[in-house]
């Protein structure tokens, strides 16, 4: 799966979990850019992403991502 494909999939997961129809994610998107993306919904996103890709993140990864690009990198490493 390419980074672009992962990004497309993340976009779907974000829309579903955050209940917003038109999120456009980019490598540089951070939680500051999306109002609904707070520390609580972050956990929901993590769980939903783990389920979809059938992977497990470490607690450090969960705490240290700065933006979508970091997330995609973590996912790529595990696939």
């Amino acid at each position: 799966m390419t980074a672009t494909e992962i990004l497309t999939q993340l976009q779907k997961i974000f829309c579903d979990v955050l209940d917003i129809a038109d999120i456009v994610l980019e490598q540089t998107t951070t939680s500051a850019d999306i109002e609904e993306w707070d520390s609580l919904s972050h956990i929901q996103l993590v769980v939903a992403i783990e389920k979809y890709f059938d992977i497990k993140f470490t607690s450090e990864e969960i705490l240290e991502w700065q933006n979508i690009g970091d997330m995609i990198k973590s996912i790529e490493e595990k696939l």
Binding site: D19, L40, I43, Q44, V46, V47, T58, S59, I62
Partner: protein, 561 residues
């Protein structure tokens, strides 16, 4: 139900739904649990006003009389102290703390017990060692049960059982805990929130009273009419027969704890009953079934018949049938009836039903064991009544006798339970816990009566209660509720005669009552008017004692000193 669905529900405002005030206190991060509780409340038709205490403030909130918790005045206070946070602490301090809370705090508490963690410090030897963490946690859960036995307003949310069923790896996710302080996984939150509302609904009088059962391929394998009695799969031989025996054993346990069993089957009645009478492996006998309907009519209509004979709400009925098409017909016609989506393989049913937790209750009394018998007697009475053309003759021939008592330690559990169970004949629908009833029995400002009715067909047990508040010259009926089993028997008149006699003897000038409408108590809308009270408007009524004439009824009074 997923957490995401609950989260969406939690955002809907449910302004026209009844409000329940819930306080949530925990020693780990509870924000998502709070969201799940709000969403589940909405799903189960309540508007939840939630107070979520700041992290780790349990002691301060309980012991400081000016705390937010005390000001909030919750209907239910949920306390979640995690096993996890006990790992580094002395477990022996915990129970005294809970006892202290119970001594100082008035109100209903829902307390999470402790999900086990085997810290593996001693291995299996932990079971032989009192100081081990495993031993201490199990002991604490045991002690909590004993506390709950003594305190009727202290309810255990059995998270330990939930973890037994779903597994620790499902309940707890270490990486999420490390990054957020959350103990419960997102996937288990809907299950936990559901169990919380099982308790809340049960104490609000919303629980299941009856299971309506299909027969062929539900109570036994095969079709009695086609396969013949001897070829049914039922019994501890090879194969699936034992599954049906175990399913019946479970139903029998439900019956013995007060759930009414009824049969609704597409069958010839004689064929269906023959299995109960002649098959040696049948656990359930005809005696266990309160209403037995076997015919070829539509099951929704048959369930309507069962409902009218038993006189209980559709929402207190569970319908179990192996056939998805029959389930769908019942769901479409009777949306209030609970129809579990039984798995295709009967071997899976019990584990599935254990998880559904359909039979939550907040009380259990000796009368529960008698319930099926009482409903069977009720069916006999109905048949007997049909042989009379004149109602008075029927009532006279019943040879009714009523015992009138104060509240005593023997009848308090049943009184509390009747207040929770009565929805139709309940003038103000105040729900009382055992502790509430206990307090009323010691309160000089109240006079209480409990009524038990017997007749030639049997003992109906304790079936009616009035709670009277003394307001100088006025006697206010704070509560009047009655089991619908004894409707149209003259109990209303008998009860009012009892109240009036007491009022007269104690120099009260008038009796006042109030009707507070709910979705279910339209039956008693004209109750006071029919008994000769004068309407004062706004649901309030009064009856002057001076011109009260004793009402005719055919019930003999048996007063207990």
């Amino acid at each position: 139900m997923t957490f995401n669905q609950l989260k969406k529900l939690s955002k809907q405002s449910g302004n026209d739904l009844p409000v329940i005030r819930v306080a949530l206190l925990g020693d780990t991060a509870t924000q998502l649990l709070a969201t799940a509780i709000k969403g589940m409340g909405q799903y189960r038709n309540f508007n939840i006003e939630l107070f979520e205490a700041d992290f780790n403030q349990i002691e301060m909130q309980f012991f400081n009389k000016d705390s937010e918790l005390h000001k909030f005045n919750a209907d239910f206070t949920i306390v979640f102290q995690s096993t996890h946070k006990l790992l580094g602490k002395k477990t022996k301090d915990r129970l005294p703390l809970i006892k202290e809370i119970l001594n100082s705090f008035k109100g209903k508490i829902i307390y999470f017990n402790y999900a086990e963690i085997d810290d593996s410090v001693f291995g299996s030897f932990a079971n032989k060692l009192e100081m081990s963490f495993v031993y201490q946690i199990r002991k604490m859960n045991f002690d909590l049960m004993n506390l709950a036995i003594q305190n009727s307003d202290f309810h255990i949310l059995d998270i330990a059982s939930i973890q037994n069923k779903y597994g620790r790896n499902f309940m707890f996710s270490p990486a999420i805990y490390a990054s957020t302080e959350m103990i419960l996984s997102i996937d288990c939150l809907p299950i936990v929130a559901n169990r919380i509302f099982d308790i809340i609904c049960a104490s609000k009088g919303n629980f299941k009273k009856c299971v309506v059962l299909d027969l062929d391929n539900t109570l036994w394998g095969g079709i009695a009419g086609d396969d013949g009695l001897e070829n049914l799969k039922l019994g501890h031989g090879l194969g699936i027969g034992k599954i049906f025996v175990e399913f019946q054993e479970w139903l029998k346990k439900l019956k013995e704890r007060g759930i009414i069993l009824a049969v609704c089957s597409k069958n010839e009645e004689s064929t269906a009953k023959e299995v109960f009478e002649k098959h040696p492996e049948m656990v359930l006998k005809l005696d266990d079934i309160s209403v037995f309907i076997a015919n070829w009519e539509n099951k929704a209509d048959n369930i309507r018949k069962i409902q009218s004979v038993l006189n209980i709400g559709f929402d207190s009925i569970v319908f179990m049938d192996d056939n998805p098409a029959e389930r769908e017909i019942v769901r479409q016609n009777l949306s209030a009836v609970c129809v579990p989506e039984l798995p295709k393989d009967p071997a899976e049913w019990l584990e599935f039903l254990y998880g559904e937790n359909l039979f939550e209750t907040v009380s259990f009394s000796q009368e529960d064991k008698e319930r099926t018998k009482q409903y069977r007697e009720q069916v006999e009475r109905t048949t007997f009544e049909q042989s009379f053309t004149n109602e008075t003759d029927f009532l006279k021939s019943l040879e009714m006798e009523c015992e009138v008592e104060d509240f005593t330690k023997f009848n308090i559990p049943r009184i509390a339970q009747l207040s929770q169970r009565s929805n139709q004949f309940n003038l103000r629908t105040v729900r009382y816990s055992e502790a509430d009833i206990q307090n009323l029995s010691n309160n000089e400002n109240y006079k209480n009566f409990a009524f038990s009715l017997k007749d030639k067909f049997g003992d109906n047990g304790l079936i009616a209660v009035v709670i009277l508040e003394k307001r100088s010259k006025e006697l206010f009926i704070e509560s009047w509720f009655m089991s619908c089993r004894v409707l149209k028997r003259g109990m209303e008149s008998f009860t009012l005669n009892t109240i009036a006699k007491y009022a007269k003897e104690n120099s009260f000038e008038k009796i006042t009552g109030e009707y507070l409408p709910t979705a279910k108590n339209k039956l008693v809308e004209n109750h006071y008017k029919d008994l000769g009270f004068v309407s004062l408007g706004a649901g309030k009524f009064e009856l002057k004692i001076c011109n009260y004439a004793e009402r005719e009824c055919f019930i003999l009074s048996k007063e207990i000193e």
